[in-house]
Amino acid sequence: MTTVSATIVAMVVLSAAGLLPTLAVVGLRWITFPLAPLAGAVIAALAATGFVAVGGTFMVWFVSLAAVVAGVTALAWRKWPNRRPWAVEPGSGMSSPTGYRLFGALGALGIVAACAWCLRDLSTPTVGFDARALWLTRSGWFLHSHQQVLTTLRAPTLVLGQSAYPPLVSAAGAVAWSVTGNHTLRLGVVVVALLNTCALATAAFAIVEFARRFSWRLSASEPRSHQRDPINLAAAAPMVAGLVAAVLLIFISFGITEPFMTNGYADPIWSLAALGAVVYGLQMSGGQSEYGVVAILVLTAGMAKNEGVVTAAVLIVLIALRQLSIQFADRANHPESRRWWWRGPIAVAVAELAAVGAWPVVMRAIGARGQSSPLSTPSQWVSRARSTYDGFVPYLHVLLWAVPIAVVGGLLLSRVRSRSRAANDWWGWAGLASGLLAVAGALIVGTSAIEPWLATTVHRVTEFPALTGWWIVAMWVVVASGAPAEAARQRTARPDREDLPDPVTAPVTAPVAGPAPDSVRVPSV
């Protein structure tokens, strides 16, 4: 089978495995398409974990897990018919005027075109150093017998401690090789590049989606005479800005992550998936579908690389905290809400942490190479911290742009941001800091010689904070572009239309709009 046809088959298999759970937790949206193969890759990573921990064969685990997840999804839809993706009723909160839906399609098209342009790099037959030595080497290990994979992961003669790193990239490669019979590194590299691009497209589409909702919200609060237009031109500015920003972000992301985006490394996928988790979990307005996206993305990040494990763990906690704060605020407005309102977010966070932590626990349990990591002494921390700072600075120049924009925006545009229903900007910065500190912490407390370590990794380990910085800037572009329309709206404000429910995140049974007293204005949490 040629690389092209094998890639198509591999992506179809990964997507098929991930489609039903993605539909169950996200619903039928544009981002369902890039998320399905990522969910399939997560299932492959869980299969690798089960295979190494218990036995059997990797592919039996993969097929069985995919079948179990699909079965559970079917049972859930049978029990709760209103949760089926096709069960959204006309007139519910999910619908929006045709013009706005068309803009969503345009955004998706722009993102796909930009990704396709950047993926031309795949015409260069590059296989990265680590991809050849580690990530795709392990794909072959997962297709060996259980006893052999244990021997290979333990054997001290194989020297490489990194072989105990989380399995997602290798497991996705193993699925591709197994279902196509094409055991080439080239196929593995192309599949990993496409998974990276799926994570990127998902994160970029968040900007389009956020902008579209903001425009609709601005338009819906215009005087009725203006609402007769298919799209209110003044209120459409955020939508246009969001589309432009999303396309620019694709080029920015490829610029930051290349050549590793298309040569089989694991750094882009954890960075981009964690970025998506920040955008959907800590920057968007929140909602059931959004947290479904977050669940897939944090699992992808946490099962791809050690840095991803730590960052995903911190993000899971942050996102749970934000969810709890939203529900707490909501509870203050709706005293009749459930007594155990806090249980859902905590249960989800615990389940996500368990899934992300499973592979490291299994590696420790089987005594895999590279499990003991000695720590440097506190007296070395200062000099190592200084070197780390110096190493990071050239790759984080985005902060020189993002910080002033966030400060000016936070001081002068907070009302507009609140109106857009974006989260308080501090959540995004907390997400950025979590990834930055996770990587910096590993460099500071590790024992490897810091200068060569930085020289060979710093450009890859700073991908996540650099990308998050640009997404923070993009969110401000959308918010700021709505400022003139929001200022004009204040001139003709209609208090009864201040608090429209979120068009996508509102419960499907909620009315589209309804009178709401000023006292229930939702704070920007």
Binding site: V127, P259, G409, T456, T457, A480, S481, A488, Q490
Partner: protein, 160 residues
């Protein structure tokens, strides 16, 4: 609404509008500049030198892979000589995904290493050498065959 309050609200609206325009323009300029730089990075991956280096890299490990396959069968356990870390990595990158590794070096049926040679038959000046734990047809050491590649030394290292 009294005049003072009205003027304050008008000033506020003007501030929001001006701040919005400034922030949006500054942010789009930043995004646009970085996107142009990103597009250049993407194009750099398709330059002739990059493509040539990637091709050489691929051919080198393919060459070692073929030589190793001429020496070992899939049911033989293998250890790679760790005396030279560079050679170890090269061999791991060539055979790591399909070879059956032994738990210990002494327990391996075959120990593989690289040896520098001059003349034809090598992969950029190296051949794969197999040392058999049990002599095979009276032979304890054999040199890999089936592929060769001109040049000397490992290919240009790809970015780490």
């Amino acid at each position: 609404m009294n005049r003072k309050s009205w003027e304050r609200r008008r000033a506020s609206r003007t501030t929001i509008t001006v701040a919005g325009i400034i922030v949006a323009v500054a942010a789009v300029v930043g995004l646009g500049t970085q996107a142009v730089s990103g597009a250049r990075t993407v194009n750099a991956q398709r330059q002739t030198t990059t493509v040539r280096n990637a091709t050489i890299d691929d051919e080198y490990y393919q060459c070692l892979d073929i030589q190793a396959r001429s020496l070992i069968s899939s049911n033989q356990s293998v250890a790679i000589d760790t005396a030279n870390l560079g050679d170890f990595i090269s061999l791991l990158k060539s055979i790591g995904s399909w070879a059956t590794f032994a738990g210990t070096s002494s327990g391996a049926d075959v120990r593989l290493s690289l040896r520098a040679i001059s003349g034809p038959g090598g992969c950029r000046g190296s051949v794969v050498v197999a040392d058999f734990a049990v002599p095979l047809h009276g032979v304890t050491q054999q040199v890999g065959t089936g592929a060769s590649m001109p040049g000397h030394g490992p290919p240009p290292a790809p970015p780490l």
